[in-house]
Symmetry: C2
Subunit: 734 residues, 2 copies
């Protein structure tokens, strides 16, 4: 191995991308006295030393995302980045040698590669089956290159840049404009990959492409990728800055949803850190009023009590703020975003930090005991570049979390699920959103890629807890149409911790039909736990069939209505997702309130819903027309009603518990004795809630006037109600 002489140290030199010369000096001076950093460093050293012992493997690309060559190349770039950091921090040359030798192996291989043999992608890579993964590779290896830049000879740098990095950057940009010139998480990775290597190489032309996209791309408007997303939208700005502008709302909500936001956070924030270091004049962390830092806060708030992200749109369940991307996000947000002590409590749970200046700052903060609990409260996050395309509301009370989606389409990973919701208790799903149909990186399941049931089931409206009209998905399941529309916030109010409430309208999902859905989570001392009011007003030009499913999880305890289980099971319908539901049982209301109780993970739940005598109450389960067993088998209660204008009004209670060790069953019954719509027209809806102790409450809603200042007077059954603002909850006798 060659010994290189690059002894001069300056702030203009390398590393300067993520690690900096000054940062490295500071880290070295603290080593051994910063527990979480020291521990991460030790773990990293053990991992990388083991890899070095195994030797370098740069196989000829062949496999999909579940296969060997994919996994090996992915591992390689993760290791390279870490080995580079170890070289800087530990000053052991073996790490530099390892990085160089592996990069040289890639420099030898890369020019020989055709596009990847797997043909499924709209933008095939060379190392991986899609340019997206090639971009991942470059984002990480650029950091490794920066760390050994000065240690390398000029000749070696020349080889790496000309044989590997520049052709690589050109391939994923100029040669794949359909990948690079978009607003999409794919393009973000592409832009950042090119931008990172440009910063290391001080290559202005590549940096310009990274920030602002390719000047010309010869793409046709209306082209789509293999997920069905638009590639070119007329007039669309492109490049990294456009990818910050477009998908993030001013609140930091990322329109594809938290699972993809998590994936995108890494390139957004790592490149922001690099730009901050190398091009401080761009003031990237202040861009769009600091949206990149806000987005970290938004993302953490879009997780349940365990830190698992709500699976809005295409989201794989289980992904959480324990992921490596969120370690990056939290550390960078802490260091560059004003040292919010609540972020330290998340970092403490993550129990590892970045091996850089940001990670050092977090480690020091934790060491000094500055952390405070991250208190997730109710939050309303707008969607759309200007925050005016609907949004997502999360109502929180005690252990309950209700997620209400009234956002835009969410690009190609969006689902047709306007006004849908899901409910969690203490980090467990109570009423679930199905999530995606994919087993990421599990080769046996379609190469680890999206499975066809993602389109035929997961994206369809019937897969969601919202209204389906005439067994057709919102916007007829047409992406072109859905992308043009979004729901509208009616009002959101979390100031009163006793009654937190969100209300939104959807008028485009079914032309001629208006839907207004309001969720309130009510902390009422007459109930054991907060309960949820779900009021959905549907008004239409025509009579329709409306289906409203509740994808509860758990086992049925009791229904107060008669139902018949079917001796043979048939699918509930033929298309739009209905073909994937087995119809297990069907019932008719026995009274004007239908009650349905279930037990899940030791808690009892009851839905009490106001029924029309003609409603059908259908028990269904996923799994029909599923030739490869790609779907989970999970239940649903579907309320089916034929009407023109109607109100679906329900209370969802969590009550009591069962302990299989003590065998005690506590508070196993609903506390609602009578639920009634006492008023409903275009302007107002009023719901009366009577509990088992005979106390009667009313919730009054103004359906049109969302002003907090408006005064309302409404006469119902000889009683005059007066209130201010869009809603009021009170004892009826008050």
């Amino acid at each position: 191995t060659t010994k290189n002489n690059n002894d001069q140290v300056s702030n203009q030199g390398h590393p300067n991308l993520i690690l900096t010369k000054a940062g490295v000096e500071k880290i070295k001076s603290q080593l051994g006295s910063i527990p979480i950093f020291d521990k991460t460093l030790q773990t990293t050293k053990e991992d990388i030393d083991a890899e070095i012992a195994l030797g370098i493997d740069v196989p000829i690309p062949k496999d999909f995302s579940g296969g060997y060559t994919h996994a090996r190349h992915k591992r390689n770039f993760l290791i390279l980045q870490k080995a580079g950091a170890l070289f800087q921090i530990l000053e052991e040359e073996k790490y530099a040698v390892y990085v160089r030798d592996m990069l040289m192996a890639y420099a030898k291989l890369y020019p020989t590669l055709p596009v990847h043999p797997q043909t499924r992608s709209y933008a095939r890579g060379k190392i991986f089956w899609q340019c997206l993964n090639d971009s991942n590779w470059l984002v990480y290896t650029a950091q490794a290159y920066d760390c050994i830049y000065e240690w390398l000879s000029e000749e070696e740098r020349h080889v790496l840049e000309n044989e590997l990095f520049i052709p690589f950057a050109n391939f994923i940009s100029e040669e794949n404009p359909q990948f690079f010139n978009r607003v999409h998480n794919h393009s973000t990775w592409g832009n950042v990959a090119v931008g990172m290597i440009a910063l290391v190489m001080d290559h202005d032309e590549l940096l310009e492409k990274a920030l602002n996209g390719l000047k010309t791309d010869n793409l046709k408007a209306g082209m789509k990728d293999n997920d069905g997303g638009f590639i070119k939208v007329e007039g669309q700005k492109v490049g990294f800055l456009a990818n910050v502008d477009e998908p993030f709302s001013p609140d930091g909500y990322y329109t594809e949803g938290p699972y993809y936001q998590r994936y995108a956070m890494y390139p957004f924030l790592i490149f922001a850190e690099a730009l901050h270091h190398v091009k401080p004049e761009l003031k990237i962390f202040e861009y769009k009023e600091g949206v990149l830092l806000k987005s970290v806060n938004a993302l953490i708030n879009l997780s349940d009590a365990d830190g698992e992200f709500f699976p809005l749109n295409d989201g794989q369940k289980g992904m959480s703020y324990y992921s490596r991307e969120l370690v990056t996000a939290v550390d960078i947000a802490y260091h560059f975003g004003g040292n919010n002590p609540e972020l330290l409590s998340i970092a403490k749970k993550q129990d590892r930090v970045l091996l850089d200046d940001a990670g050092l700052a977090v480690a020091l903060g934790i060491k000094e005991g500055k952390d405070k609990p991250f208190e997730k409260k109710s939050i309303n996050l707008s969607d759309g570049p200007n925050g005016d395309q609907g949004g997502v509301g999360v109502l929180r009370s005690e252990d309950l979390e209700l997620v209400f989606k009234y956002a835009g389409q969410g690009l190609s990973h969006g689902h047709y699920d306007k006004l849908s919701f899901s409910l969690y208790e203490d980090g467990e799903e109570v009423i679930q959103d199905y999530g995606l149909v994919r087993f990421v990186n599990i080769e046996q399941k379609g190469g680890g890629n999206y499975l066809k049931e993602n389109k035929t089931w997961a994206k369809q409206t019937i897969a969601h807890n919202t209204v389906i009209q005439n067994e057709t998905s919102h916007f007829e399941g047409k992406y072109e149409v859905g992308s043009k529309h979004h729901s509208e916030l009616h009002f959101y109010d979390d100031i009163n911790s006793q009654v937190q409430i969100v209300s939104a309208k959807e008028t485009n999902a079914y032309p001629g039909t208006q839907m207004l859905r309001t969720f309130a989570i009510i902390h009422d001392k007459d109930f054991e736990k907060p309960f949820i009011l779900d009021i959905l007003q549907v008004n239409s030009d025509n009579e329709n069939q409306y289906d409203l499913p509740y994808y509860y999880l758990g086992q049925i305890m009791k229904a107060n209505f008669q139902y018949t289980v079917l001796p043979e099971l048939k699918p509930l319908g033929n298309s739009n997702g209905y073909q994937h539901l087995w119809k297990e049982a069907t019932g008719k209301p026995s009274s004007h309130n239908s009650k349905f109780s279930w037990l899940n993970k030791g808690n009892f739940y009851t839905i009490t819903t106001i029924s029309d005598a003609q409603d059908d109450l259908i028990m269904a389960r996923t799994g029909a027309k599923d030739p490869d067993f790609n779907l989970r088998r999970e239940p649903s209660l579907i309320i089916r009603r034929h009407a023109q204008n109607t109100v679906f009004a329900s209370v969802i209670e969590s009550h009591g518990n069962y302990n299989p060790v003590s065998e005690f069953a506590v508070n196993t019954y609903s506390s609602i004795s009578n639920l009634k719509v006492i008023y409903n027209d275009e302007n107002y809806t009023a719901i009366q809630i009577e509990d088992v102790s005979k106390k009667v409450k009313v919730l009054l809603l103004a359906n049109k006037d969302a002003s907090k200042l408006s005064e309302h007077i409404l006469k119902i059954e000889d009683k005059e109600y007066k209130w201010t603002g869009p809603y009021n909850y009170k004892l009826k006798s008050e």
Copy 2:
């Protein structure tokens, strides 16, 4: 309230049942310095003080086990027992007053009560719907009475004994001989209830009934209870001692299985402690070579890594050694059974102790750091009073636990599941036993009682991982027949930790058919984890249809055979449990090895089984003909074969894992490349296992000769194998 004067203290006086005068003095002298005892005392005091504040409620009996009056009376007896102990330990009179007042309320109510209005039981109680629960009540209140005995006036004692305790004891014995004069966990409770109150009252006649049963009962042989169990068996001894003799094997295995053993442990051990205190001359802890203490060890060994009992026979999942009965069992076994330090580690996990001498001993042991980990190893437990009626083997290796049942019928809670098994990894079910169909104490579900699907599904053979011949359960599902038979151990060997093995025969389940099943768990360095060999030889006088189900839990990843999912679902059959299975898909082997992989809780599993080309491979799921949704929806792979004599030979592997946060999938494929039966006749079976690295091993089994000393010579394909003992596992080339 009356102040009583009973100042004389003597060891002949009260308390002497569970707490003793000497014990109480010792406890008082240690209070404040024995953390786990102090903590339990504090928690208990808080609970009881809260109850005292709420006031006494002794409602008129009305409900089944899930209802209010049931829950209230149950709570009452648990509280009474604790309040009595608090009075002794804390010397606060309010506890004595509370116990007295509540007992007086019962003394007032009891004489007015008819039998309980719910009519389902074969032995209706007065306080509860069955004498069983009335007996629970008396076992606990006898302890409370003992604690305030001396504090009460003679007059008060007279009222309590003549209005309440003696009539109560007579009711559950003389007036319910069908309940009292049996060998059954019900009778154990009845015997102990009468025995406990007899010891407090020093009532020899009642004690004699408790120990040896009623002299005359006028019961007819062949009578059955409402679970289908025999009430009278000709020549059967009865009473407490008979209930120790009969259901416990010499190894301490309780024939009903661990769920009921746990339930029965409390009366067995609390009465043993009381007899030890009051009638030490009976030497009860030495009875039947110390079987009561051995049974605690057996029971702990019949739990998974989380302490949850294997659900053999009727067992509710989730019940564990954290239950109050096991706190009693562990503390008593520690104190009266030689201070085994491994029991202290269980007590430490339980984090509470009995408030008596035994609990004090445990608390002191823990305080002094004497605890050692309870290491669960492989174990073989015989069944039957003399240990010659089959048994249960548990093979353990690393995180895997395989439970093999080749026992007797298990009384009325037994299932028809000869040679069935279940598999666990790290406390999670991998291949499950369904357990019971009941929601204990949940009123909505049939009053908390056994549901009809317990008989039609859970007890049937098809609900188990064993062979079903011609769609008929073992012994035709006839309790009278099953009760006469048991499987026979062929051999068990856990001396070699690399190859642990158990083998048993069943010749009565299907007359004319012999089944020999062998499980080996093999720790082989060529595999990531230990793997399981499952070899089932079936020989019959006739050709039959054999079904062998595997109730795996999790989601299907891949099968190497062609299968077709059904567009509409029908039950797999009409009776014997088959009516409860939906047939989801059916396939045919594509090669001589069929492979089936699934993912469960982050681990991958594969069954590789040797197939005949004509086999059907059926994917089924529970839930058909289930009008009240009493069944869970869970999957099964069923191997169906038509043959006269055949061998089912399979390898079950746990391999690799998937992490939804890192999204890394590791070792997702089976390591078995070829599985073959290379020899099979009446005397020998030999299986050849080739792995993906081309290494070939053989397992040789002697089917008739279980002697460890016998030498075997067997020629297979020109190769001569020589070994000693009933099995041998080796490299083929060796």
